[in-house]
Amino acid sequence: MTSELIDFTLVSVAMLGIGIYGLAVKRNFIRMLFAVEIIINAANLNLVAFGRFLPHSGGQTMALFSIAIAAAEVAVGLSLIIVAYRMYQNVDIADFRSLKG
């Protein structure tokens, strides 16, 4: 049984790594949003996997909450991107530099 759990956690850690890599390297806002989503899903995978090996369902409940909230967050993020796209015709964060100092 435990060998299964370690499989899930390894996949989760790999997803965390992919997410952080995406945030660090990509400069397209939508790609960065995907990277954040991958991190959230890595955490969800962890929660569900741990919940599977525990006698109660707290982990799955938390994962459901987190999925719903991540959806709300993405909705807000995409709406912000649409506004930005109308202004700049672009979603590259390298172009957003009216603020600095």
């Binding site: 954040v36 929660l47 707290g58 909450f65 807000v76 912000l80 009216s98």
Partner: protein, 494 residues
């Protein structure tokens, strides 16, 4: 079980109902409606909530200090303290928006989002379960993403919102990951049980426990503006509408501290590791980098944004020495309450300046003391309180924080250095606050006085009374802080 009249539930009921009703009213009226109509409703809801928290405190219905419970939220003085600080800031924001939002569209949604974000912030401080904490955290964050980008036609507002959103989403992703690890290690999401689980953890799993705590610090640190995670903060504070900046700087930042105190500080004591040094180093870096960067700013919002980073560092001193000095957390809470009022008032003053003069560049503020005397006076008092000048309330909280660092010096050899760094940084901050004051009062030609927005004047008068009043007579606020401060001891465990 919580009673139906317990403070957090009543606050959810009042603020939630009004927050949801405001957009419905605006749709039902088939018109945009006037800004002041919705502002008055939101203001009334906040005042009623504030009154209810005060009523509960005065009637001793609230248990002292911070508790753990099997429920997801608990009605304790720690949460009530933060609720009062955040409601004050939300009231500042609403009142300041009376004038600021006059020229903008759809005020109903704006005030509704402020109320919903306020529920989130208050619940972060009350929650005793990681699931609840995460939901409250997001309820606080998501409305503020929209509020920061509320000026749709303004490129800098949109850019500020995008940056804030990206870092905010990353911070919540990191928090969920931290929660998942702590859940895997202890089999529970209840904060009390997690802490207890950590105290009986197999030593071979200790690195994982540390990793989860590190992820909590990083996730909350993004909102608090601690130094490795602060890059978004000046841009966001600068680009956002100044009333919303007041909400971000003075309230969402404090929600981060509330969550950190509840999880990390109370939880790390049982892990029995030398984590205080890490927090101490972050504290010194945060205040130094914040203050040094603030000196170089030419824009008043950015200057105050960096000073806000520096203040996160001061508050962190108290957290770092918390296990070794009983004054530590008290000083932090005291500084949190003061900082909420000082920073809230300062950004609302900027909102007033932006509404009437439409300038934020410091050179353009010459002669402000004669053009807008009341706003300028309120701003200067807030700035000197931020610097910690003696007769003002900010002095006592800084004294307590630095005193706690000295107090801890018998067990922590490096603790006095925190106090030294804090004092030096305060002197440094006085330099740029003083420079700003000189610009406002002693430079520029004598210009005519212009009409100041009345709602901004009201905020200035309140903050001045608060800062001077509690500066001269700090006794009641000190008692309240003492009542609300969590007691760090192993007997705290459920």
């Amino acid at each position: 079980m919580l009673e139906i009249t317990s403070t957090p539930l009543v606050l959810i009921a009042i603020l939630g109902t009004v927050g949801v009703l405001l957009p419905i009213i605006s749709i039902a009226r088939k018109e945009q409606g006037s800004n002041s109509f919705y502002a008055v409703i939101a203001f009334a809801a906040l005042i009623v909530s504030m009154g209810y928290v005060g009523y509960q405190f005065l009637n001793d219905h609230i248990a002292a200090s911070a508790l753990f419970s099997d429920d997801v939220i608990v009605d304790d003085a720690f949460g009530g303290f933060f609720a009062i600080a955040m409601l004050i800031v939300a009231i500042f924001t609403t009142v300041g928006s009376f004038n600021y939002m006059r020229k903008h569209n759809s005020p109903a949604v704006y005030y509704s989002l402020i109320l919903l974000a306020t529920i989130g912030m208050v619940l972060v401080a009350y929650s005793t379960d990681l699931v609840m904490l995460f939901v409250a955290w997001e309820l606080m964050s998501i409305p503020t993403y929209i509020l920061v980008g509320y000026m749709k036609k303004n490129p800098s507002s949109n850019e500020a919102a995008l940056k804030y959103f990206l870092f905010g989403a990353l911070s919540s992703a990191i928090i969920v990951y931290g929660i998942s690890i702590s859940y895997g290690l202890t089999g529970s999401t209840n904060i009390g049980e997690v802490i207890q689980g950590y105290s009986t953890l197999d030593p071979s799993l200790l690195p994982l426990a540390l990793l989860s705590v590190g992820m909590f610090i990083a996730g909350f640190g993004f909102k608090m503006g601690l130094v490795p995670f602060h890059q978004w903060l000046p841009d966001t504070y600068d680009g956002a509408p100044p009333t919303i900046t007041a909400l971000l700087a003075a309230a969402t930042k404090k929600a981060g501290f509330a969550a950190t105190i509840r999880i990390v500080v109370l939880g790390m004591v049982v892990l029995n590791l030398d984590w205080t040094l890490a927090l101490g180093i972050i504290a010194v870096m945060t205040m130094t980098i914040g203050n040094v960067a603030a000196i170089m700013q030419k824009n008043i919002s950015r200057m105050l944004a960096y000073s806000s980073i520096a203040h996160a560092g001061y508050i962190l001193i108290g957290l770092a020495v918390a296990p070794h000095s009983s004054l530590g957390l008290q000083g932090s809470l005291y500084q949190i309450m003061n900082h909420a009022v000082m920073k809230g008032a300062a950004f609302i003053a900027i909102a007033g300046i932006v509404t009437t003069l439409a300038v934020t560049h410091i050179d353009k503020l010459q002669g402000l003391g004669r053009r807008m005397p009341i706003t300028a006076l309120g701003l200067v008092i807030a700035l000197f309180a931020l610097a910690g000048v003696p007769p003002l309330s900010g002095f006592w909280s800084k004294l307590m924080l630095f005193g706690s660092a000295l107090d801890a010096s018998s067990t922590l050899w490096w603790a006095p250095w925190l106090a030294i760094a804090g004092v030096l940084n305060s002197a440094l901050s006085l330099a740029y606050y003083g420079w700003l004051t000189r610009k406002m009062y002693f430079e520029g030609e004598t210009e005519k006085r212009i009409a100041e927005p009345k709602s901004i004047i009201a905020v200035m008068i309140f903050s001045t009374i608060f800062l001077v009043g509690f500066g001269v007579y700090p006794e009641p606020l000190l008692k309240f802080v003492e009542f609300a401060t969590p007691v760090i001891s192993l007997g705290l465990m459920p």
